[in-house]
């Protein structure tokens, strides 16, 4: 039994089948990658795994317990965190508040109607620790919109980390990043892999092959190949697919 497992997932929107009998397994402490061409169903797969969309069929388990059909907020409280392909932050708020809101200790106080937030040293310290991990501690009190694109990507990961997840889903974390920001992000993921189980969708093959322990290739809503980066490089199906020889060279 894998740490996080999805079996025979099926999802359709109207007459269009987006996921067809997809089974995936992610082991504890590993970085797992999901790759595939545009429109392959990768992001829909993430949405289904994290509860944004309900699967039409199939089973999803976290540590052997079913999380199928649960709401995103319930799944989040069970230890599943995610970032989004399109940036999803609290833009009007300062950086530290973005992180603070995702902290479990903040969540337990969510129905406190009269207590303070920014004068609570425990909350501020916990949020600052998370910002430190993603290299944004110095920008803590600035508005989220004042960050650069790469910093906002890092903040997205920080918000996901703040929930102290058991498993972290990153949807195209390098999307829109320049080469330097991508290098910084790779360094961040390398640091995080020591503490978290990570699953990421990625188009940047160099980035993915460098960091992932195992990779699943999705095409036409199906898993067409799985294995270590080395195994996939040797897989002729993958080499022939639209993913491109160059990317794997």
């Amino acid at each position: 039994m894998a740490f996080f497992e999805a079996r025979n997932l099926h999802k359709r929107f109207g007459s269009r089948v987006v996921l067809e009998n997809i089974s995936l397994a992610f082991e504890r402490g590993q970085v797992s990658g999901i790759m595939g061409p545009n429109g392959a169903g990768k992001t829909t797969c993430f949405h289904v795994l994290t509860g944004l969309h309900q699967p039409d069929r199939g089973e999803i388990e976290l540590e052997g317990k079913s999380i199928s059909g649960l709401s995103p907020q319930r799944i989040a409280t069970l230890g599943v965190s995610r970032s989004f392909q399109i940036m999803n932050l609290f833009d009007d708020s300062v950086v530290i508040e973005n992180v603070m809101l995702a902290l479990p200790e903040f969540r337990t106080r969510r129905l406190s109607f009269l207590g303070g937030v920014f004068d609570d040293t425990k909350l501020v310290d916990a949020a600052t620790d998370v910002l430190d991990q993603v290299g944004l501690a110095a920008r803590a009190w600035e508005k989220a919109t004042s960050l650069s694109y790469g910093e906002r990507r890092a903040l997205e990961i920080g918000v996901a980390l703040a929930a102290r997840p058991k498993i972290l889903f990153l949807d195209e974390p390098t999307s829109g990043l320049g080469s330097e920001a991508t290098r910084n992000l790779a360094a961040l993921v390398r640091r995080l892999r020591e503490h978290y189980t990570i699953v990421m969708i990625e188009h940047d093959m160099r980035f993915l092959f460098e960091l992932a322990d195992r990779i699943s290739v999705i095409h036409w809503g199906q898993v067409i190949a799985e294995g270590t980066p080395a195994e996939l490089q040797a897989n002729k199906w993958v080499r022939r697919s639209a993913l491109g020889e160059a990317a794997l060279a």
């Binding site: 994290t50 944004l52 709401s71 995103p72 907020q73 989040a76 409280t77 965190s81 995610r82 989004f84 999803n88 932050l89 609290f90 833009d91 009007d92 708020s93 300062v94 530290i96 508040e97 603070m100 809101l101 995702a102 479990p104 903040f106 969540r107 106080r109 969510r110 129905l111 406190s112 109607f113 009269l114 207590g115 303070g116 937030v117 920014f118 004068d119 609570d120 040293t121 501020v124 009190w141 600035e142 508005k143 004042s146 918000v159 929930a163």
Partner: protein
């Protein structure tokens, strides 16, 4: 456009100074209101509408939920107060509690229907429910008195620690309303800066992210609606005392539109004090401009349109930006209260 987070609290002075100014203005109002040519009853009206507006802005400004039928809860509070006096007991605390609870209950029922919706559907449903309450008040003659409403609602005396204070005079009632206004300001300030209030603001900004941070978004939206309705109920109870009556017009669409206009013009979308400024502006326009021309509402309406088009941040936003240009406000939203932590 700037947002609520752009006018953050920078020091304890900035938190308490406006409250102190407000308390001073309220406590001396019975002296200076007649001195500037205005009248005591206006103070009561302003205090009541400020309570209504501050409660409304929890929903409108902080949670970003556009209720266009909120006059209904003002009316329900007024009717509940009147019915309590006429059918249960002549009691200030009992009547006000009835107003708050009745409006809260109505808000809880309506909130359960609308809190899973957002945007235009949410707004339309609030109008629809508001109209249902208004229509009911017109037709449920045996309870509400129909179009005439409830007349002759007494102003029960204030009983406190065994002592009794008559509230028959407008000055006495003004002080009661001013007390509730100050309590509302303090309570609302704590609320919007509490974890609950911060989650509401997060939901306004990004509902999806809030869900993935583990929050049951619809429950927060529901709670905001109920709390806001309860403050409207309190305002309604005081309104019934002030008018000594409750009638369908109190809960009409016109009142619902008025509160939206006051909050927007004042700058409720960008500042805690926006609703307060909006109420003052409206009543000054009504009583000062109204003394000069019968068409004051036309001018007020035109000012509202100009504000929405040119300065959507409202009066509070204009004051903030003006202050910033003079170098009195920080360019960055720095929260010194938090930095002290």
């Amino acid at each position: 456009m700037i947002s609520l987070s752009d006018i953050p609290v920078r020091s304890r002075f900035q938190v308490y100074a406006p409250m102190a100014v407000m308390a001073a203005a309220l406590s001396t109002a019975p002296w200076w209101l007649p001195a500037i040519g205005l009248y005591q009853y206006l103070g009561i009206e302003i205090a009541i509408w400020m309570i209504f507006a501050l409660g409304f802005n929890l929903l409108f400004g902080y949670a970003g939920l556009h209720s266009f039928g909120h006059g209904a809860y003002l009316g329900i509070g007024a009717y509940a107060f009147g019915l309590f006096q006429q059918n249960v007991a002549v009691s200030l605390w009992g009547g006000l509690a009835a107003g708050i609870l009745a409006a809260g209950l109505a808000g809880a029922i309506v909130g359960a229907f609308i809190s899973h919706r957002r945007g235009i559907y949410y707004a339309l449903l609030t109008i629809a429910f508001g109209q249902v309450f208004w229509f009911t008040s017109m037709k449920l003659y045996g309870v509400t008195g129909g179009e005439d409403g409830l007349l002759g609602i007494p102003r029960p005396p204030l009983t406190l620690f065994g002592l009794e204070y008559a509230l028959r005079s407008n000055v006495a009632l003004f002080y009661l309303a001013a007390f509730f206004l100050l309590a509302t300001v303090l309570l609302m300030w704590r609320l919007v800066n509490s974890p609950f209030g911060r989650v509401l603001q997060a939901i306004r900004q990004n509902e999806t992210r809030a869900r993935f941070a583990g929050y049951e978004v619809w429950r927060f939206k529901w709670a905001a609606f109920v709390i806001s309705a309860m403050f409207a109920g309190l305002a309604g109870g005081l309104f019934a005392m002030a008018q000594q009556s409750a009638y369908p017009d109190v809960m009409s669409l016109h009142q619902s539109g008025l509160i939206v206009m006051m909050v927007l013009v004042g700058g409720g979308l960008v500042s805690f004090w926006g609703p307060v400024l909006g109420v003052i502006l409206y009543f000054v326009a009504r009583d000062v401009l109204g003394g000069l021309t019968e068409t004051w509402l036309l001018w007020y309406g035109m000012m509202f349109m100009a504000m929405v088009m040119l300065r959507p941040e409202g009066l509070a936003g204009m004051i903030h930006l003006g202050w910033k240009r003079l170098g009195g406000a920080s360019e960055k939203p720095v929260i010194l209260l938090a930095e002290k932590a």
